[in-house]
Amino acid sequence: MTRMPTLRCLASAALLFGASPAALAAEEMTQQRIAVAITETLAGHNPYGDAVVLIGSLWCKVYGCLMRYDFETGRPIPFLAESMEAEDELNWIVRLRPDWVRSNGDPVLAEDVVHSIDRVRNDPESTSGFIVQPIDTAEVVDDLTVRITTHEPTATLADNLTLLQITSKRLYDEHGQSVYRSHPIGAGPYRLSELSIGSHMVLERVDDHPMVAPSNPQQIMYRIMAEPEARVTALANGEVQIAQGIPPQLIDRIEQLPNARTEFANSVEMMFLAMNPATAPWDVKEARQAVAHAINREGIVRALLGDRATLLDGPVGEGQFGFDPDFKSPYGYDPERARELLESVDLVGVEIDFYTPVGRYTADRQIAEAMVPMLEEAGFSVNLRTPEWATLWSNVQTGGVPFYYMGRGQMLDPSRALRQYFETGGSPRLEFSDPELDALLQAERAAFDPDERYGLMRQAIAKLTEEVPAHFLWLHQMAWGVAETVEYTPRQADRVDGWDIHIRTAP
């Protein structure tokens, strides 16, 4: 008698946990809803307080940014702006669209642009002051027109403004700093529906927004899933429809799934070996050249990255500004030449510390480990250092790390990155200085004619590659898992824009 209820309980439990249909997780998904598994964390409600590129782009979807990237042409195009024109070398006139309003009906005004520039610069929570660093003043010309004055001629200002979310001055004046939580009202094509810090964010389509189509998902949940296995499993069982950051060893698993596929996009994050010329032996050009000749990039890409990377002949690849398909790096894989170069400056046997992050980039540690024997074959005596990311990154930012494997993202237009790493005084990360390169980089920033600027950028890239303060390695091809129910082509710059996602209708 007493055993029957127990058996019944067990049977109920089995039903509870086991009898659900196969695609259990898909129960939450409808034709109009999708979930995207992302790897980075969400810092909070303040759009200016998150340094993560992907999260910044989500805030652009909610608030709207002044400009956005057209990935087909590789150029910034207007978003909330209707036009952006240079009056002269220092002054820009930005005209706002008269017909796009916030989801509460408020217009987007020039005072909002001025206010947003001020928040990025002065909000104590802002982590992105670099966006407005070139801007000296911003003034309202009329309700829909702003004049932006830069400190120096800055042809790349539009690139900066692709990262500038336009928040409402009126709402900020009414609600203060809590406005981002209480009234996250923007003029973007999606509105914030829910945000759980460090966990997930739900965006809801603004149906009458000009940038959305009926096939775009009505709701998108961006869900943080740190573990790659969990992301792939969630994709397999329908819990998520798009999964970011699929490591090479899991690509095959996705390709065997009946309900998902892998899509690839070249990253715009150049991977490179930085050699700080302020430290020995990197003050000797031949030592830097020896490194460039010693590394068998083709072998590493084939063996460790499954051929999922594009080799670089300079800091940029296809789709990035300044890319020249005819330009070839003078530093091919040639271990004998590498040794000759070291011998020529009597540096054979020189001891070097080689730093690599661990777990930050695809197969970073394995790649660095593979480079050690290559460098030793050239004549270096290598100590591989593998500090925790926070330690290494902090040390790189404050300067003094002599030789390291690193990536630099946000390089659709490489101007800011090249200035930061390679121009005299750009940052302490590399401490490289070359007056000729400085002049070229300054000239390209000041060249408003795109063709002229492209020419100058090409010259700067050639000079930089030849001087080899860094050996440019490759752009990773980032793998994304995409459900068959969804049409989505990943973009180069870690963005998952709702208007790029289309729900496939059942045949």
Binding site: A25, A43, M221, E229, A230, A234, W393
Partner: protein, 334 residues
Amino acid sequence: MLAFTVKRLFGVIPVLLVVSLMIFALMQAAPGDPVSMLVSDEASAEDRERIAAAWGLDQPAPVQYANFVKNAATGDFGTSFRYREPVMDLVLARLPASIELALYATLLAIAVGIPLGVLAAARPNSVFDTIGSIGGFFGISMPNFWLGILMILIFAGYLNILPSGGREPWGLDLPRITGFLTLDAVLQGRWDALVHALRYLALPTIVLGTAMTGIIMQITRASMLENLGEDYVMTARAKGLSNRVVLWRHAFRNALVSVITIIGLEFGALISGAIIVETVFSWPGIGLLLIQGITFRDFPLITGLVLIYTTLFVLLNVFIDILYTIVDPRIRMR
């Protein structure tokens, strides 16, 4: 008992001061700085200086610590560098998730570990005892991250009967009363929500509870074996009591004190030590928060969390001390 409890609670204060000082000193001594982790890849030197000043990181370490202690005394653990929210708000929002997970893992461990331990002790050196002991060691030695990924692959991947992570499905729409999803579902009669909550709990509970099950099983077995050799057990047997009564009413009751001690300690460890499980299963608890805090060198968040862990741990021990008197009336508070 009241005097004892009050005395124990006051004893927490110096412990918290020492712990906070140690954590603060360790964080200061650790390489890497929070500003580097807060700013964008493109940040300029001015950005770094502005952010350091905004968070008080440009002040000397003793001043930073004094400010922290002064505020912590009023329950204000500061604002998280990374999340820009008061640490207490962040913790309170996530604590129910961690406690709920730890509770279910503990219940699972008790439900499985104690009977197995008692039965293994009842038949020492038998096949059952050997298998139980091997199972116990297996549970203790199994790495959480490995077991977690294995469970995800099997139950969420191949069998596809349980979700791979998270705490609740999208759009569950269950108003929070206590923050414990299963309890909230029961209180509101939302049986659908209860089923969902239990499904999401299942895998992390099993993974988190596995090690504890092994420990409880081993401790129960050892404690039972010790008690089964005592004179009072022989007396009970001589009186003709059944083996079941001797085991459960006499020996087990006396063995329970050490089992309760280990359950209490392990429960505390589960709340604070679920970091890996919470990461693997994207479980939105304080373990995940702590690992994010460490990654970003979020000093206020780390220090606040450790202090909260410490407080919970001490309170739990006080509770266990009280529980002793219920289990064994011979124990008196002095």
